[in-house]
């Protein structure tokens, strides 16, 4: 297996992932910071490097609607959006989720207006956690490329048939260039077979998605629930398959730094990258700190998280999202640990909303400050300001 090293932004890495996955129908509407991603795909198509139909839609609602239609017609479909666009899509998000259409979407996370703000925040993606999509958060450009390819494999698995959001931070990832290993097309082809699930048969005409009575509706929801449950182990299988072919290991969660520390930071996306740098500093100075990076948010890896935190005294959750009075990641983590045998204290931090910088220095300071008071009772949500 040969891989080419390219210097790519996160958006370009995503576009390469789409090209290598041989997506056949792209439907997208421009929104900052997603634009360079869909422009790159349009360029691939124009140059003949990707054989796909690009539907220039008039809104994000239509972008996803078109992807759903394409998926029904047996084509591999892709779209990408951010913030307001994702919110406009919400009706279609549920349609794709409950409709079991294996669409893959890049969500370049961005703060929601008002006030207008185009920098990163995770509230846009996390507010869609109930729409029936698998959600994966990436923390660097290599992961973005790899995850797009994995996403199709997970999504199109007959046991799953659910759409996947590949989420990564606007600008911090989307517009920041890094070295990225670009796999060979033939290697991706052998990992990801073509998609051919055309559901429409004129010889056996059926209605798709027409009205159902309550008892049938309940059954359909249970079928969806079973697929959602199964998706957790399929994600693991795909991670392993990917690792065995490409040598890069991904998991539902990633543990970094000390494995059995006193305190775990918990973070997603580019916040986790800053947290890794903070853990490096803290470990060098002898502080017993590790990081749990949540990569898979839907389905939430409850049992893996429960196992990972065993023995830790406290979790410091770095939430780049807000649900009224708490961070969304915090409520999710707290919920996952409620029935666990080992329940560390949870210290909740709100960080980096609206693109505010989350520097590793500020995290180092915050953790040192907390370690001195870790025996005290958590005093509610702390807003962590960062000075560059």
């Amino acid at each position: 297996m040969v891989e080419q090293v390219e210097v790519l932004t996160g958006n370009a890495a995503a576009a390469y992932g789409v090209k290598l996955s041989r997506a056949q129908v792209i439907a997208a509407y421009p929104i900052t910071p997603q634009t360079t991603l869909v422009e790159r795909i349009a360029e691939f198509i124009a140059k003949g490097e990707l054989k796909a139909e690009y539907i220039k839609v008039e809104s994000e609602h239509s972008a996803l609607a078109a992807c759903i239609g394409a998926s029904l017609g047996g084509a591999r479909a892709f779209t990408a959006t951010s913030a307001q666009g994702l919110l406009l899509m919400q009706e279609m998000l549920f349609w794709a989720g409950y409709g079991r259409t294996p669409v893959v979407m890049a969500v370049v996370t961005r703060a929601i207006a008002p006030p207008w703000n185009m920098w990163s925040e995770h509230t846009d993606a996390l507010a869609q956690r109930d729409t029936g999509w698998i959600q994966i958060f990436c923390h660097n450009n290599q992961e973005v490329l790899d995850t797009i390819i994995q996403a199709y494999k997970i999504s199109e698995d007959k046991r799953v048939m659910l759409p996947v959001m590949v989420c990564f931070d606007g600008f911090e990832i989307s517009h920041t260039a890094e070295n990225v290993l670009v796999p060979e097309q033939s290697d991706v082809d052998s990992f990801l077979p073509p998609y051919n699930n055309d559901l429409i048969d004129v010889e056996k005409p059926k209605l798709l998605w027409n009205g159902v009575y309550p008892e049938d509706a309940f059954k359909f929801r249970f079928i969806f629930y079973e697929a959602a449950q199964r998706s957790l182990s399929v994600v693991e299988e795909v991670h392993y398959d990917f690792y065995s072919r490409f040598g890069r290991r991904y998991g539902a969660i990633e543990i970094y730094g000390e494995c059995e520390p006193k305190v775990f930071l918990v973070a997603m996306g580019s916040v986790a990258s800053s947290a890794k740098a903070a853990v490096d500093v803290l470990n060098r100075e002898g502080y017993p700190v590790g990081l749990i990076r949540i990569r898979l948010f839907r389905p939430f890896p409850t049992f893996e998280l429960q196992r990972a935190v065993e023995g830790a005294e406290a979790l410091v959750i770095l939430d780049r999202s807000l649900s009224f009075t708490r961070g969304i990641l915090s409520t999710e983590v707290a919920g996952a640990l409620y029935n666990a045998k080992w329940r560390p204290k949870i210290f909740e931090y709100i960080v980096g909303l609206g693109g505010a910088v989350v520097s590793h220095k500020s995290l180092v300071e915050a953790v040192k400050h907390l370690l001195a008071r870790v025996d005290e009772k958590p005093k509610g949500v702390v807003w962590l300001k960062s000075e560059g």
């Binding site: 056949q24 129908v25 439907a27 054989k51 796909a52 139909e53 539907i55 220039k56 839609v57 008039e58 809104s59 609602h61 239509s62 972008a63 609607a65 078109a66 992807c67 759903i68 239609g69 394409a70 998926s71 029904l72 017609g73 047996g74 084509a75 479909a77 009706e91 279609m92 349609w95 055309d198 429409i200 048969d201 004129v202 005409p205 059926k206 209605l207 798709l208 998605w209 027409n210 009205g211 159902v212 009575y213 049938d216």
Partner: protein, 297 residues
């Protein structure tokens, strides 16, 4: 031209569906599908048809149907068309939506599909209000008509959607009425023979919504055309052609058969007559101006 001898005996809108007695939409759809035949897939948003098509697992259709969310039909269809294009599959993709789904909640997506020139036949069945939710006004409800949300009668003039679609420079636009089934079928046949975005706007009178006796659906469809309130025309290659149907009758003859117009004042009836005359004159001018247009492809 379409004659009764060449119509297939096959039915693609089946008996026993739960449409209201005298439903104009069922008449239109039955004829449309007889022309299009079985290699057709319907993409359909919420609306009367999505209700009377049947509840899972039943189906009133002899062709496959994809139900879309309300207003998303054109974009679902765009995706399906793109998939078929890249997969090399040949199926007629037809969007079938009511006046609300087309002129109101779906207009952005319909307009986008028209502007892109999607290879689709769009059928709008216009019963002039949100009927399956119990008669609320749409932008295609005519002036003066009472609905659940305009209990004193609508104060605004009906949006001229067929001309709006024609302004997109699409392959084909036509209006049709269930009062003239062979004209309707001729237009469907013609549209089916073309490619690109094709739009047929069909007036489908609605007995419960408009308040008339179930045996008068076809008659209302004819009177609407004859009084000029729903003119029949085609736009192809930039040329508009008006169809004259017999001698004109006063709009009063059409309005007085419908309960939704029962509270109209004499002044309002005069106003409607005047506006209808003006609108017809406007179409005649367009017909004249565009008669010399030459456009390739």
């Amino acid at each position: 031209m379409v004659t009764i001898n060449e119509l297939t005996d096959d039915e693609f809108l089946l008996k026993g569906n739960s449409a209201c007695a005298g439903c104009g939409a069922t008449m239109a759809i039955r004829w449309v599908l007889k022309i299009l035949g079985k290699d057709t897939v319907l993409v359909m948003p919420a609306g009367c048809v999505s209700v009377f098509q049947g509840m899972f697992p039943a189906s009133a259709f002899g062709v496959p149907v994809v139900d879309s969310s309300f207003g998303a039909q054109s974009s679902f269809a765009a995706g399906l068309i793109a998939a078929y294009k890249i997969k090399g599959r040949r199926l007629k993709v037809v969007t079938l939506a009511g006046d609300g789904g087309t002129a109101d909640i779906g207009l952005h997506a319909v307009s986008a599909a028209a502007e892109r020139g999607d290879d689709v036949l769009y059928i709008c069945y216009d019963n002039e209000a949100y009927m399956n939710t119990g008669v609320q006004r749409s932008s295609l409800t005519p002036y003066g008509a009472k609905t659940g949300t305009d209990p004193k009668g609508k104060l605004e003039w009906k949006k001229n959607l067929p001309l709006i679609m024609a302004a997109h420079n699409v392959t084909y636009v036509a209006t049709a009425s269930v009062g003239y089934p062979f004209d309707l079928m001729r237009k469907v046949k013609k549209a089916a023979s073309l490619s690109g975005f094709r739009y047929i706007h069909i007036l489908t009178p609605c007995p419960p919504g408009w308040g008339f006796s179930e045996n008068l659906t076809a008659e209302l469809g004819r009177l609407a055309v004859r009084c000029g309130i729903f003119p029949l025309f085609e736009v192809e290659g930039g040329k508009l052609t008006l169809h004259k149907v017999g001698s004109r009758i006063p709009v009063r003859k059409y309005l007085e058969l419908q309960k939704r117009f029962e509270d109209l004042t004499e002044d309002q009836i005069q106003y409607i007559q005047k506006r209808v005359d003006e609108d017809l004159r406007y179409l005649e001018i367009i017909e004249k101006v565009t008669s010399e247009v030459k456009r390739d492809g």
